[in-house]
C-alpha cells in the first residue's frame, strides 16, 4: 500500500484497528505501464527529493528507475492541471494506456490486524541555517545524502563529482562529521547517529575512486567504526586510498573569493590554528525521528526516549511500550543497514510470538490447474513480441520481427502486445495458450531477471509446465543499446527470437524439487542469544534442542551486571534460564558438544556427545549457531604480574564483592583497546568503551573524590550511549586520547603505578599516579568456532567469527540454506544486539519450520551416467557442496565411479557443466542440446 499514511491505531495486541489514509496517485496503477511518455511531456519541473534536491523531476514521476511498484504518480503540489483544471493535461493526452485520472481521490481504510510493526525510518538532519556551516547559503556546502546522489550513476551528474556552483570538477573536499549529532548546542541532538563515520569514509573512498587525484579530508571527533569489518575499511581508506583524517571540530565554513571556494578554520592535532581551502564541503548529517512519526507514536501510546526514539528494553529490543506494537530499524535509535535488517527479522519473530495461534489463517496460497502432459504432442510454439510502449517499438520494427517469428520452425502462433507484462495481456495469454494448444512459449521483450517469474505463473495458470518457456531480451540487449540503427536493431531482434525459439524447442517439462522439512531446530550455545532464539522458536510452536558445552546456561551474560540502559542483567538472565528450563518444547543438553553433522536445509542430522561420552543423533530442519565469544587474556600493562591490574570483567566482580584493592584505591585508570584494533586483531570489540564509561560513572557516583581516567583511542559510545559519555565528563571523569604509536606505559612504583600517556590537548606527556588499572580486553571468537564451522561447512571471517551470507542484506543467514548465526559468534556486540540477532535467527528459521516442505526450482544439475566417469572435477568447483563421488562395483566386480547431485543443495549455476570434460553433467533447462541449438540458430542467417 503506497502513498498511504497510518493516522490512528486503536485496540490491543491480537486485534488492532488501524486507520490508513491513502493519498491519490492520479494514475491508475492497473493501467500504467511505466513507459515514461507522460513525464517526457510534462512541462513542470520541481526539486527531486529522491536526489536530495540535487536534481529535478517532473510533476508526474516515478520515485526512481527501479521503483516498486514501477508506476507513475502525480505530485498534486506541482501539477498544473490539479492546481488549475483545464490548463495543461499533457500527460493525459500522451498516455498510451489511458492511465491518468485527475479525478482520483484519497481514501480512508480501516484495517483489522493482530499486530503492528513500526518501521518508519529516519529523516536526515536538516542543517539549513546552522550558522557555522553555511548550508543553503554557499552552494558548495552539501549534505552527505546529496553527495551520495552526486556519486551515483543514477544521480543528477551521472556520477561525475562536480561543484554545484560552477560544474567544475572537485579537487579538494572536506567532510565535517557530527552535524546534527553529538551537539546539543547547535542542533539540539546530543546522541551519536552511529552511521556517519562509516558512510563518510565510504563516500570519501568512492569519491576518490571517481577522481583519483582528489584530496579528501574527514574532520572528526571520534572515529566510530565499531561494526564488523568497519575498522579494516577505515585502515584501508587511510593507508591505501589516502583519505586524510583530522581529529577536530571545524570552527566554521566561510566563502573565499567569488569562485565558490570555501575556507575552513580549525585547530589541528598539534594545537595550531589552521586555515585551509576546499572546493566542496560535505556535512555528515545525523539521523532523527521524522516529526509525523512522533505524532503517530503519541497516538499509539508508544513511549519515546529523551532523544525521541522508541523506548525499548535491551532484552526485548523490538518491543515498544504498547503491547502488540513492535519496532525495527532507526525508530528505536540510529543504526546501520545490517542492524536494521536484523531488527526487521527480529520484529517478525516478536510478532509471531503473539500471533502464532493464528498462523496460516489468513495467508493464502495460490492454486493452479493440473499440468497438461505435452510429451507426445508435436511442437506448437507461441511467440509474443512486446512493443514495451515505445521502448522497443520506437527503435526497431516489431511487426517485422513478429512476421519473421511466424516463419520459424515449430512456431504456430505469433502475437504483438503493447505491453506483454500487463495484467490484461496475462489473461489473454492464458486464453491463447488454451485455445491454440500451445506447448512452448517465447516472449521477446525485456529481461528474465525481472519478468520471468510473472510469465512462469501465467503459463502455469494456462495448464503448462512453467519451464516450457524462454525469453528473448530485445529491449535491454537491443532497442536500448542500438537506438541509432533501426535496421540492425530489427535484425538483432530477429536473431534473438530465433535463438530463443531454437532453445525452447528442446525444452522438456521440469519438476520443481520438493524437500520435506523436519520441524525441529537445533540451537548450539546456551548463552543469551542461544536461549533467546530457542525460546522464541518454542513459543511459535517449534520443538528445539538446545546444546550447551558447559554446565551452566547463561554464557557471557553470567559475568555482566547492567546493560548500558541500566537494566539488571542477572535478574533477566535468571528469568530467561527459568523460562527455557520450563518450556515443554525445549530440550536442553548440558555439557554436550556437536561432534558430527550431515544433511541439508530441512534435513540435518547432528551427532551430539554428552557428559558421559554417549553419542546420540538428532534430526532437525534448521541450525542456529550461537556459540558466543570469549575474552583475551592481556599480555601487557603488567596484567599477569600485579593484582591491581585487572580486566574489565574482573574489575566488576572485585567491585561487587567489595574487594579491598578496589575499596582502598583512589585513582583508577581504564585503558581501552587492549588487544583490539591492533595488528592481527584489527577489529573493534564494540562494547568496551561503554562498559568502561559506565564503570567510571559508578566509581564517581560512589565517591566523587576518586580520580578516574579513561585512556582511549576513539570513544565509541555510539547511538544514545553518548549520554553516558556526557554524564561521565560532567562527573569529572578525565578522558585522555592516545594513538596506537604512543600507547600508555605502566610502571610499578612504591605506592601504586605510574601511567605515562601523551596528552593531545596539552601536547606533552602526562604522568598519572594510579592505584588500580582496568584493561578493556578484546573479545575473541569462541575457541570451538573453527571445529563447528568445519562440521557444518560454513565459513569464518579473518578473525575467526562466523561469516554471514551478506554483510548488509543477510546478516543472520549463512550462504548455506537452513543455517543461521546469532550473538557474539558473529561479532562482538552488546546484549540488545545479540538478542535482536537471536530473534532474527528465529524468524528466519520460522520461514522454513512453518512449512511442510520447501519447493526449489527445477533448474538443477543432472548426471548422464553414459558419459560420467567419476573424474570428480565437478566436485571441486561446486560452490554449494552439492556433488559427491559415488563408488560401486558392477556385476563382474569392477569398480565404477560416478557422481551424484544433491538437488536440495544444487542452485543450477552450471559450473559443473562448464568444467566437465566429458558431457557427463548438465543443468536442466540448459542442456548441451539446447545450448547447441541456440548457437546454431545464432550462426544461421
Amino acid at each position: 500500500m503506497t502513498l498511504c499514511e497510518v493516522t490512528d491505531v486503536t485496540g490491543a495486541a491480537g486485534k488492532f484497528t488501524v486507520t490508513v489514509k491513502e493519498h491519490p496517485r492520479y494514475v491508475d496503477v492497473d493501467k500504467c505501464i511505466a513507459c515514461g511518455e507522460c513525464a517526457a511531456k510534462c512541462p513542470k519541473k520541481v526539486d527531486d527529493e529522491y536526489n536530495a534536491d540535487t536534481g529535478k523531476r517532473k510533476a508526474i514521476y516515478v520515485k526512481y528507475a527501479q521503483a516498486v511498484p514501477l508506476k507513475y504518480q502525480i505530485d498534486p503540489d506541482a501539477c498544473i492541471w490539479l492546481k488549475k483544471p483545464g490548463r495543461c493535461g499533457a500527460c493525459a493526452k500522451v498516455c498510451p494506456a489511458g492511465a491518468i485520472n485527475f479525478d482520483d481521490t484519497g481514501k480512508i481504510h480501516q484495517i483489522d490486524v493482530g499486530s503492528v510493526i513500526m518501521a518508519p525510518g529516519f529523516d536526515c538532519f536538516d542543517p539549513t541555517g546552522i550558522e557555522p556551516y553555511g548550508f543553503g547559503e554557499y552552494p558548495n556546502v552539501i549534505t552527505s545524502m546529496q553527495l551520495e546522489r552526486y556519486l551515483s550513476a543514477s544521480g543528477p551528474t551521472e556520477g561525475h563529482l562536480v561543484r554545484p556552483s560552477d560544474g567544475k570538477p572537485v579537487r579538494k573536499m572536506a567532510f565535517l562529521q557530527c552535524v546534527g549529532s553529538r551537539d546539543e548546542h547547535l542542533c539540539g541532538n546530543g546522541y551519536c547517529s552511529s552511521v556517519c563515520c562509516m558512510y563518510a569514509i565510504k563516500e570519501a573512498v568512492i569519491a576518490k575512486d571517481h577522481v583519483p587525484d582528489l584530496q579528501a579530508t574527514i574532520f572528526y571527533m571520534d572515529m566510530r567504526t565499531h561494526g564488523k569489518e568497519f575498522d579494516e575499511y577505515y585502515q584501508r581508506a587511510k593507508t591505501e586510498t589516502g583519505v586524510r583524517f583530522v581529529r577536530c571540530r571545524v570552527g566554521g565554513v566561510e566563502p573565499e573569493g567569488k569562485e565558490g571556494d570555501l575556507r575552513l578554520h580549525y585547530v589541528n592535532e598539534q594545537g595550531r590554528q589552521i586555515e585551509e581551502y576546499f572546493d566542496l564541503v560535505v556535512l555528515s548529517v545525523g539521523l532523527e525521528t521524522p516529526k509525523n512519526v512522533l505524532e503517530l507514536a503519541d497516538r499509539a501510546g508508544v513511549r519515546l526516549t529523551a532523544d525521541n526514539f522508541a523506548a525499548v528494553s535491551s532484552f526485548a529490543p523490538v518491543t515498544t511500550s504498547t503491547p502488540g506494537i513492535f519496532t525495527c530499524g532507526a525508530f528505536s535509535g540510529p543504526k546501520d543497514i545490517p542492524q536494521s535488517v536484523m531488527e526487521g527479522s527480529a520484529a517478525a519473530a516478536a510478532v509471531a510470538d503473539v500471533l502464532a495461534p493464528a498462523r496460516h489463517e489468513l495467508a493464502k496460497k495460490k492454486t493452479f490447474p493440473p499440468e497438461r502432459d505435452i510429451m507426445d504432442e508435436e511442437l506448437r510454439i507461441g511467440v509474443f513480441v512486446c512493443h514495451c510502449g515505445s521502448n522497443i517499438a520506437g527503435y526497431l520494427d516489431v511487426e517485422e520481427v513478429a512476421d519473421y517469428a511466424a516463419t520459424l520452425p515449430g512456431v504456430v502462433y505469433v502475437e504483438r502486445n503493447l505491453f506483454t507484462c500487463s495484467q490484461d495481456t496475462q489473461d489473454l495469454m492464458v486464453k491463447v495458450i488454451r485455445e491454440n494448444n500451445l506447448n512452448r512459449i517465447v516472449v521477446s521483450a525485456c529481461t528474465p531477471r525481472t519478468h520471468e517469474p510473472l510469465f512462469h505463473e501465467t503459463i502455469r495458470t494456462a495448464g503448462l509446465n512453467e519451464y516450457l518457456f524462454e525469453m528473448a531480451n530485445i529491449r535491454n540487449q537491443d532497442s536500448w543499446v542500438h537506438t541509432d540503427d533501426r535496421v540492425a536493431a530489427t535484425e538483432k531482434a530477429k536473431d534473438l527470437t530465433r535463438m530463443a525459439v531454437a532453445k525452447v524447442a528442446w525444452q522438456n517439462p521440469l519438476e520443481n524439487v520438493s524437500v520435506p522439512i523436519t520441524g525441529r531446530a537445533l540451537v548450539i550455545g546456551g548463552g543469551l542469544a542461544g536461549m533467546a532464539a530457542a525460546l522464541n522458536m518454542a513459543r511459535q510452536g517449534f520443538p528445539v534442542e538446545l546444546v550447551e558445552k558447559s554446565a551452566v546456561l547463561g554464557g557471557n551474560g553470567l559475568h555482566l551486571h547492567t546493560t548500558w540502559t541500566g537494566e539488571h542483567i542477572s535478574n533477566r538472565l535468571f528469568n530467561l534460564v527459568h523460562d527455557v528450563r520450563n518450556c515443554d518444547l525445549i530440550t536442553v543438553h548440558m555439557e554436550t558438544e556437536v561432534v558430527a553433522a550431515e544433511g541439508y536445509v530441512g534435513n540435518f542430522t547432528s551427532t551430539l556427545r554428552g557428559k558421559s561420552g554417549r553419542k546420540f543423533a538428532i534430526a532437525h530442519g534448521v541450525t542456529v549457531i550461537a556459540t558466543g565469544g570469549t575474552r583475551l587474556m592481556p599480555d601487557e600493562y603488567g596484567y599477569s604480574e600485579h593484582r591491581e591490574v585487572v580486566s574489565a570483567l574482573e574489575f566488576d566482580k572485585l567491585k561487587e564483592v567489595g574487594d579491598v584493592h578496589v575499596r582502598n584505591a583512589n585513582s583508577f585508570v581504564f585503558i581501552q583497546c587492549v588487544g583490539s584494533r591492533e595488528e592481527d586483531r584489527n577489529y573493534c570489540s564494540k562494547v568496551c568503551c561503554t562498559h568502561s564509561v559506565q564503570a567510571a560513572i559508578e566509581l564517581k557516583k560512589e565517591n566523587s573524590a576518586r580520580q578516574v581516567y579513561i585512556l582511549y583511542r576513539d570513544m565509541r559510545t555510539y547511538g544514545q550511549r553518548e549520554a553516558l559519555y556526557k554524564q561521565a565528563r560532567e562527573l569529572g571523569v578525565v578522558f585522555i586520547n592516545y594513538e596506537l604509536h604512543g600507547k600508555p606505559e605502566v610502571e610499578k612504583t612504591d605506592n601504586g603505578f605510574a601511567v605515562t600517556v601523551w596528552d593531545h590537548v596539552l601536547h606533552r606527556p602526562l604522568l598519572i599516579q594510579a592505584d588500580m588499572i582496568v584493561l578493556a580486553a578484546a573479545i575473541l571468537p569462541s575457541p570451538g568456532a573453527e571445529k563447528l564451522a568445519r562440521l557444518y561447512k560454513v565459513p569464518l571471517d579473518n578473525h575467526g567469527f562466523f561469516q554471514e551470507a551478506h554483510a548488509k542484506l543477510r546478516p543472520v543467514d549463512f550462504a548455506t540454506d537452513g543455517l543461521f548465526v546469532a550473538g557474539m559468534a558473529h561479532y562482538p556486540k552488546p546484549v540488545e544486539e545479540s538478542i535482536a540477532q537471536a530473534l532474527a535467527a528465529s524468524a528466519r528459521a520460522a520461514t522454513l519450520l512453518s512449512q511442510d516442505e520447501i519447493v526449489l526450482d527445477g533448474i538443477k544439475a543432472e548426471v548422464d551416467p553414459d558419459f560420467c566417469d567419476g573424474c570428480a572435477l565437478c566436485i571441486d568447483v561446486c560452490p554449494y557442496h552439492a556433488i559427491t563421488l559415488v563408488e560401486s562395483k558392477d556385476k563382474d566386480g569392477v569398480q565404477e565411479l560416478t557422481v551424484s547431485v544433491n538437488k536440495a543443495h544444487c542452485k543450477g549455476c552450471g559450473l559443473c557443466q562448464g568444467t566437465c570434460p566429458k558431457r557427463g553433467i548438465s543443468v536442466a533447462g540448459f542442456t548441451f542440446k539446447q545450448i547447441e541449438s541456440q548457437i546454431e540458430a545464432a550462426l544461421t542467417v
Binding site: F16, G114, V116, A348, L355, E361
Partner: protein
C-alpha cells in the same frame, strides 16, 4: 476469561529495508501482511545510496 480471537495479519508501517525484511519474514511464515508506505514506492533510504561498504556493492 473473555475469549479473544487473535487476527493472523500484521501491519508493517514503513517500506524501507527493515520494514520489507519484516514483511517478507512474516509472509513467508504464514501471516498476512499489509506493508504501508508513505511515498509512491518502497525502498526507503537505502534506495538513495550509491554503494554500500565494506564491499562497495551497489545498494540497489
Amino acid at each position: 476469561m473473555l475469549e479473544k480471537k487473535i487476527i493472523g495479519s500484521v501491519m508493517v508501517v514503513g517500506g524501507g529495508i527493515t520494514g520489507m525484511q519484516s514483511a517478507l519474514d512474516l509472509a513467508n511464515a504464514g501471516y498476512y501482511v499489509y506493508l504501508v508506505e508513505r511515498s509512491g514506492a518502497i525502498g526507503g533510504a537505502m534506495a538513495q545510496l550509491d554503494k554500500t561498504f565494506p564491499t562497495n556493492d551497489c545498494s540497489m
